[in-house]
Symmetry: C2
DNA sequence: GATCCATGATAAAAGCTTTTAGCAGAAAAA
DNA sequence: TTTTTCTGCTAAAAGCTTTTATCATGGATC
């Protein structure tokens, strides 16, 4: 006979059914105050029986902590956001914290609207993520009464910020190629005005030294195709490996190489960046690439906002999380494939 | 001097600053009860000045409507979910409704946890979406005290459900090919145990009649590649058009055709399904395909849950939303490209 | 001058939970 | 026996808003 009525059960119902006062019921359920073990058990059993669940609104109203956070994103596409959001939500659900998802579509009016709604809902914190598209928040987030964590986006100085470690990721790729005996490594990447592209390129240049060449373009498959055509059309030594700034670029590169009858990985080894499975798994051969550990990024951001919302500390400034090398078949590795 | 203190302003602050009672302040702000026009203006001005925003928790506690809904998804990848969620959120934010995003990762325990959290938060409704992967909800949603709307997933009989109109979408593709003079149309699609694949295939068979052939496989690029090789290796007439069950399959098909030196669209026209831009835009030539209008699906689901939560009606049973043909260059259409 | 009505305001309750302060009774200490 | 200390429980307040019922005032009506 659990909760057949239409009305939700309140702690008042529990108290009445257990024959105690409301405060005793509350104390028994939360293990606060002083309660007799036997009473405590009885109250809990009764609560279970009638299907009592505390009203989060009332709880939040009193405690001034809503146990909810907001996630503000301008990524309409979802390739980076949703895995991250899943990570955030995954780590927070066990702490009883839920996540409001707010897609701003890069519209400042919408962003402002969402932000106000979040504040009205007394969220305990906000995670702002910009997916590299534009690095400046579309709304004023600095002077908020609640903590803000930035992912893939830079906040004001010393704000808690998470990025993948692009420098280490690029090094991972280059080192892998070098270990396999490749020496003439080319880098084809996205636009120069992307910070991530610049960092990866610099890391590559540092690791490869003389003769290294970074070609900037855009994040498309087409650009990868075009770049390869250019390089193979001009005179001089050809690369024996290509490190690409994204899996999409890598896909274009692989296609262009096949058009030129260049063998992969025999003649040229290819490494991508993103481990976007739907691309990396489908290239022929499957693509060795760098994974940015988006879910882990989400975990860390979630834990950080949780700490901050409790007044506990979180790593100030920019934290860069290590990337991971995923070996498939585009480099001819003797290692087992993914 | 707006809200410099650390404490949020309450309606009590407004009342005091305006020299009226709390109830008058509330009435003035909400336009309820009887208030003198002049008083009303003054209260509103004061509220604006001190930066008062009503506490959504207190409001929800009283009205029993939290003005928040939950979105339960098992789609970890986000390709279908996020555009939809953006649609939901977009249409609801203007009604002051926020969206909790809950990614269940296909884990029943997680789903249960999220569901309980949502109920505790007194959400006004739940949108369940399953992205075609498995059609049965991972938790018991039927006997809930709040309305549920299903998208891409089938609920109990007569529950409010939205799907793209796969039948009409497939017909759109076939008609387009026929109009361009193609007569030997082949269909390459995903697994037969996907309802969507079966519907699209049936629609195609109905439209093409004798000689039509639907090849079931899986949703991968690889399968598209393989199917084309099979068809072009066997004796007999070759197709002059291929309608693919997904853009990924279409991509494999296009690659395989190029490997066989078959000209697209001169020799064979290709149509995809999904309008997944990152694939459809990047094929060579760019892919003509069917768009499922995910955002619109989100809009409709959002409006439906809004109606239901207010006790108003919503379209019972399965509603199928029309798909849209996106013409690019893979069919040699004289129409302008997208 | 007494009664009625409309207006504009207000006090108080309700919504549900947690926390603080306090009370009654029993056991322990003086 | 009287005082102190625990123990187990409870009443009431607080958190913020909306709504209901009530009240005071001034003008209109008889």
């Amino acid at each position: 006979m659990k909760n057949t009525g239409d009305r939700r059960r309140t702690i008042y119902d529990v108290a009445k059914a257990a024959g105690v006062s409301i405060s005793t019921a509350s104390n028994a359920l939360n293990g606060t105050g002083r309660t007799n073990a036997e009473t405590r058990e009885r109250v809990r059993r009764v609560a279970e029986e009638i299907g009592f669940r505390p009203n989060a609104l009332a709880r939040g109203l009193l405690s001034k902590r809503s146990h909810a956070i907001g996630m503000l994103t301008n990524d309409t596409y979802g390739r980076l956001t949703l895995p991250m959001a899943a990570g955030v939500s995954e780590v927070l659900v066990d702490h009883g914290v839920s996540v409001f998802l707010c897609a701003t579509n890069n519209d400042p009016r919408l962003a402002q609207l969402h932000l106000e709604a979040l504040l009205d809902r007394q969220v305990d914190g906000i995670i702002f993520t910009a997916t590299r598209l534009d690095l400046t928040p579309p709304v004023q987030l600095s002077r908020l009464p609640i903590p803000v964590v930035y992912v893939f986006a830079e906040g004001p100085a010393d704000s808690v910020t998470f990025f993948p470690d692009d420098e280490q990721g690029a090094r991972l790729a280059v080192d892998h190629l070098k270990e396999l005996g490749r020496s003439r490594i080319l880098h084809i990447t996205g636009p120069r005005d992307y910070l991530a592209a610049r960092i990866r390129a610099q890391s590559y240049l540092d690791a490869c030294g003389d003769g290294a060449e970074a070609m900037f373009g855009d994040w498309s498959e087409e650009w990868g195709h075009e770049a390869v055509q250019t390089v193979f059309a001009r005179p001089g030594a050809k690369p024996d490996a290509i490190f690409c700034g994204s899996d999409e670029i890598a896909r274009g590169v692989i296609d262009a190489l096949r058009d030129l009858d260049v063998e992969i990985p025999t003649d040229v080894a290819v490494v991508g960046f993103d481990n976007w499975e739907v691309v990396a798994r489908q290239t022929r051969p499957p693509l060795t690439t760098i994974d940015m550990e988006l879910k882990e990024l989400g975990h860390r951001a979630g834990l950080a906002i949780l700490s901050l919302s409790k007044g506990e500390p979180a790593p100030a400034g920019i934290t860069r999380l290590p990337c991971r090398l995923v070996v498939r078949q585009s480099c001819g590795s003797p290692l087992q494939s993914d």
